[in-house]
Amino acid sequence: MTMSDQRCDRLQVGPVSIELRCESPQYARSLADYFGRPSAPGAPDISLELEIVSHADIPDIPNSLVAGKSVSGHGFTIADGLITGNFDPRSRQGKLSVLNILTKGQYPRVFEQVLYQAVQSAFRTAGSDALMIHSSAVATDQGGFLLVGASGTGKSTVAELSADFAVLNDEMNLVNFDNDPVELHGTPFNGFYQDKVEGTAPLRAVFLLAHGRRHELAPVGPAEAVSILSAQICPPVGLEDPFSPDIRLQMLDLAEKLFHSVPVQRLEFTPDPGFWDLIFTRFGKVPD
């Protein structure tokens, strides 16, 4: 491994790889520790120099790094300078300058949002037909299952209740439409579940989560399903993109695509793992 490689952390996110070129090997290792996986081998789809910037003032930290973004040429500014940078889709190279506060406390999860944008850029450069969605994902012998819901609907709870299986992630997962069957991938991005595993599985079904008095699987109409899914889909905004109102229509398109790819049902559950019996009764046999 060259000295240059030691300063790099490569994140494999489904079919794409993002390289972060850090100021030091130590920082690259700390990133690998944060994401809970070693740097991915192979050539990245995009490469970003990562600069951590010291600052005296304490800025406001927004919840979303998408809406507060301005773009000029290849350069962008997010949240009044919380993150600045540039990205050239042709060279697939860029730079992120990040205020130090985003590396501390709970704020790395805000910083991850700019990496979501890097993933979207990587999808584009790699020609990948994929989406990311706020969700829990579990891989079983019967395939992969995506569990979707807004904050508070129980994504992390179902992850905890699925410890007998491979929990890929309880925060952000990836659906790759490039192949048949459609693939479900975990991502390195951090939720609350600590024991996530790297992995992929053929996507069998999507469940829209709701707390209930008993475990129940129920059909859900297309409009309601697509509405719920679209609200959880990671905006397809790349580093080079400004935020535009059309993005929500694109999210609707992606939600519709997901809805038409696999069965989508509502899963009402109580805080015990018995809902897996329902799921396997319904989806127990892998189709030919």
């Binding site: 109409g221 409009a223 309601e224 697509v226 509405s227 109102p245 609707l252 519709e256």
Partner: protein, 92 residues
């Protein structure tokens, strides 16, 4: 107050998408998104910005085999809900 003489008018600033027999109404700004099932979609498609609720009611009654008073109440609830969400403006 919404009455049967009221005319519901779709508000600006929303995108409407049909999915099979159902409908999604998406705010062009903000995060509002609203789904209509098959019945709600039929109700929605009777709204042309010119018909009063009194003119819409018989259209729905012709489609659905239910008591007119029940349909009237459902229609008023439907319109009130969409008006509250800003998806419909009420004229007259």
């Amino acid at each position: 107050m919404i009455t049967m003489d009221s005319i519901p008018v779709p508000a600006d600033g929303f995108s409407v998408r049909k999915l099979g027999e159902e409908t999604i109404i998406l705010a062009q700004e903000g995060e509002s998104i609203h789904s209509l099932d098959e019945v709600g979609t039929f109700f929605w498609e009777t709204i042309d910005g010119k018909r009063s609720l009194g003119e819409i009611l018989p259209l729905i009654c012709a489609e659905y085999d239910a008591d007119e008073e029940i349909i009237r109440a459902d229609l008023l609830d439907f319109i009130a809900d969409l008006a509250e969400k800003g998806i419909l403006n009420i004229a007259g």
